[in-house]
Subunit: 126 residues, 3 copies
């Protein structure tokens, strides 16, 4: 499961980076906890992290289904693609919320492919 | 682990549907990203998805503990019940936030049963 | 995997407690769903739960990587430390948002140690 593990590592590393950006943005834009709304510059940084949580709960179980029941190497490749799509999404969203579409769509699509593929692999395995 | 896999698939499929509803609601109610507050109609749709994330982090690990250490088939049945409860919760919440109680309580209860059962199964397995 | 399972159980039990506190806070401060903002007393309780979701998506996969590829017992010990740090964080944050630093930092640090350690263990295992 080396590729699946490395794809998990890469995805969570990107996520840690998004988490740290929220802490920075709190200071930069003067948004004191527990507040999370009321400043669009802060909210863009916050939503990148939040949306990554929302996608990780789909991605990680699906990645491991696919790595276990279909192919470790292919799971790893799709997983690295997921992280690349997430980094693209973050770069797009940090610049302009209107431009986040391609990275968001690609992340979601890879999640679905892993989920459907992994489930089929598990059900069809004799 | 076929039943546990299928219950995972069903739960995440329902979750994908809740995700897509948020995108639709952004357009329908004119709530542009990164904004998530300020319109109760949008917020009901958004909270269904958010609350499902909040429950998935309890449900998925607990489902797999139960499937691994107690029974794959029983995990699958409880898991399908979880998704049914979640769909009920969404239907209730989309209609009226005050009516979301039964679906919310049933989802949470099944999560707890899976967590406690799965942990007991793991600890008591010789 | 008994220690890893018990650390999972303990972490999710603390999380269930944070979830129930949000329900209580809704009643106490009169914040009706779907609203989540506009009252700092409610938001502190809500953010403890939300932030725990944000940390669980890092912690749980990392804990299981570490338990599987490095050591079940050490994973369990680090996992119990994570939950203790989370309870400290909650106690700090419930009292005063400005005091949440130590518990937040310790939780995050243990998550990173588990992620890096578990990944190294998986990659270096012959």
């Amino acid at each position: 499961m080396r590729f699946t593990v490395l794809a998990t590592f890469t995805a969570l590393l990107a996520y840690c980076w998004f988490l740290l950006k929220v802490g920075q943005a709190r200071k930069k834009f003067g948004i004191e906890a527990p507040r999370t709304t009321g400043n669009a510059d802060f909210e863009r940084v916050f939503r990148v992290q939040q949306n990554t949580v929302e996608q990780l709960v789909l991605f990680l179980p699906s990645l491991w289904l696919f790595g276990t029941y279909v192919s470790d190497m292919l799971a790893g490749l799709l997983g690295f693609g997921w992280t690349a799509a997430r980094v693209l999404y973050a770069a797009e969203y940090y610049a302009d919320a209107k431009k986040r579409g391609p990275g968001a769509a690609l992340t979601f699509l890879i999640g679905i492919v892993l989920l459907v593929g992994g489930t089929l692999g598990a059900v069809l395995t004799p």
